[in-house]
């Protein structure tokens, strides 16, 4: 259960990035999981090469990935904003593979072990439940980031612009909001959250590799759909649900089927309630 919560916190962070990007430009950012991977590597190198502690490493990874996210959006997605959604989706898949294999090319496909000394593990005993400092670290930093995100979206001008653009792009433009700038900021925030999640996965599982982003990325996507894609609280709830569900399945059932469960959940939701738990039904307009 504790594992489920911290895993869920990680999924929720990734799912937030998916949901924000989808909400604003209606694009499933397939490269999101790979931004996470890049974040994990940046965190790794900043701990190993620069010798920073894990919090500084996370901050560096977040900033670097925010820049990466903006660049990807400018180079690959912006020219396609008015083309078909299939074209945009295929581009996103292309970007994802580009990130993965560029990393493999430069850093070899081998696993790397996250330095243990960067984060000493201690176990606490709270009311009969063993809590590892890893779990606490992951959970608390995820929650802090989510609170910051909520503040940005609800209370700042940028957040207001983001909400306006996702509601109606043309109207937002007429109101004097720079749509391009807002989309860039969305990508920056989403990618930064993914980078934080990447560092957390590194700490949590101790190892990273260039293809590590695919599976968490897909599962977080499922989480985003579960909560209703485009809806921010939905992504958080969906993420936690996915984490807990997955821990339960691998705890009580076959761990081999763990990956299939995520997709099974996805397909069931899409068939029963495609808009997700928190979604509203909107008819298609012609």
């Amino acid at each position: 259960m504790v594992n489920g919560l911290s895993l869920g916190a990680i999924y929720a962070l990734i799912a937030l990035g998916y949901t924000m990007v989808y909400g604003i430009i209606m694009l499933i950012n397939f490269a999101h999981g790979d931004i996470l991977m890049v974040g994990a590597y940046i965190g790794f190198f900043s701990v190993v090469v620069l010798g920073t502690n894990i919090f500084v490493a996370m901050a560096i990874a977040m900033i670097a990935c925010a820049v990466l996210g903006v660049v990807i959006e400018k180079v690959a997605y912006r020219p396609l904003r008015n083309s078909t959604r299939i074209a945009a989706l295929i581009t996103a898949i292309g970007v994802s593979f580009f990130l993965e294999y560029t990393t493999i090319f430069f850093l070899t496909p081998n696993q790397r072990v996250y330095p243990a000394e960067a984060f000493p593990v201690t176990n606490y005993d709270v009311m009969g439940i063993t809590l590892s400092s890893k779990d606490i670290f992951v959970f608390i930093s995820a929650v802090v980031l989510m609170v910051i995100l909520q503040y940005i979206i609800k209370r700042t001008k940028t957040g207001k612009a983001m909400r306006a653009v996702s509601l109606d792009k043309e109207a937002a433009m007429l109101m004097g909001i720079s749509v391009d700038k807002t989309i860039s900021i969305t990508f920056a925030i989403g990618s930064a959250l993914a980078a934080a999640a990447g560092v957390m996965i590194g700490v949590y599982y101790n190892s990273i590799n260039p293809l590590m982003g695919i599976i968490p990325g897909l599962k977080a996507f499922v989480a985003a759909v579960l909560g209703g894609i485009g809806i921010i609280p939905g992504a958080m709830v969906g993420g936690f649900l996915m984490g807990i569900l997955e821990t339960l399945v691998s705890g009580y059932g076959s761990s081999l089927y763990r990956d299939a469960v995520a997709f099974g959940v996805l397909i069931i939701i899409l068939l029963i309630k495609p808009t997700g738990l928190f979604g509203k039904n909107t008819g298609e307009k012609v």
Binding site: A76, G94, F98, P109, G264, L266
Partner: protein, 317 residues
Amino acid sequence: MQKTQHFKPVQFIIEVGILVVIFTLVQYLISAGLLNQYYQINLASICINIILAVSLNLINGFTGQLSLGHAGFMAVGAYASVIMTTYMELPFIVGIIAACLAAALAGFIIGVPTLRLRGDYLAIATLGFGEIIRVVLQNIDYVNGPAGIMGISKLSTWPWLFGSVVITILVIVNLVNSSYGRAIISVREDEVAAELMGVNTTKYKVLAFVVGAMFAGLAGALYAHYFYIIKPETFNFMKSFDILVMVVLGGLGSTTGAIIAAIFITVLTAALQSFPAIRMILYAVILVTVMIYRPQGLMGNRELGRRTFGRLWGDKK
């Protein structure tokens, strides 16, 4: 508007003649030992990839439904045929028919619920199903789980490969040019409008999906009986992605484009065999560049064929 093509006996004979010449030429080269193993393997890969690309093009290109689970159907076909030939020791043709039927059935089971979804959701759902097929195969002991099946007899000979390619292309081209094909294309162009005109969109989407899956199963059967070994890992998302690159590069909705791209990508893969990472980076760059500068693919939805070569046949169009 495409003009109704009347049956032209001379042209028909010439076309069949060209096919026969290609077939006998390669058959002669193989039997005379002029093509070494390396070229033969590439030739087989080209044939298999053409079948995959043309069949995926029916789903992605003509019907406009982005499917990312093509490798899953290929896996179903491969396993079904191997169970028939290696486990039950039935002739290859039974294996191939079983592969087609099993993959078509899988396509039907998956297609009926998922094709209600649109665009991005469909892509993810098919991707999910493709992965589920793989995970399930990994957990079935009857087919050796993750280790896969080894020691499959090599039955995919050149006549089988060539024949399958020709049949695939014939069926799909004729399907697309029939009234079914027009309905299928209308779904791609505007689903709502097609529905208003009385086209049963679900029916045609499922039809295209099942036919596409069936030929992917055929390709899977040929693959299994050429490369001796199949394991679930072969048919992962990467394989679907490979096929998608061919379709996108060739042009969504162009059969000849898909064929050319399948040949090109196979040759490129063979040439870059020693640099797998570079190959994938190149794929990704090709994909993104093509989408940005030419979203309809290199060939768009144009076909290379009678019209282009019309003058060769003295066909004044």
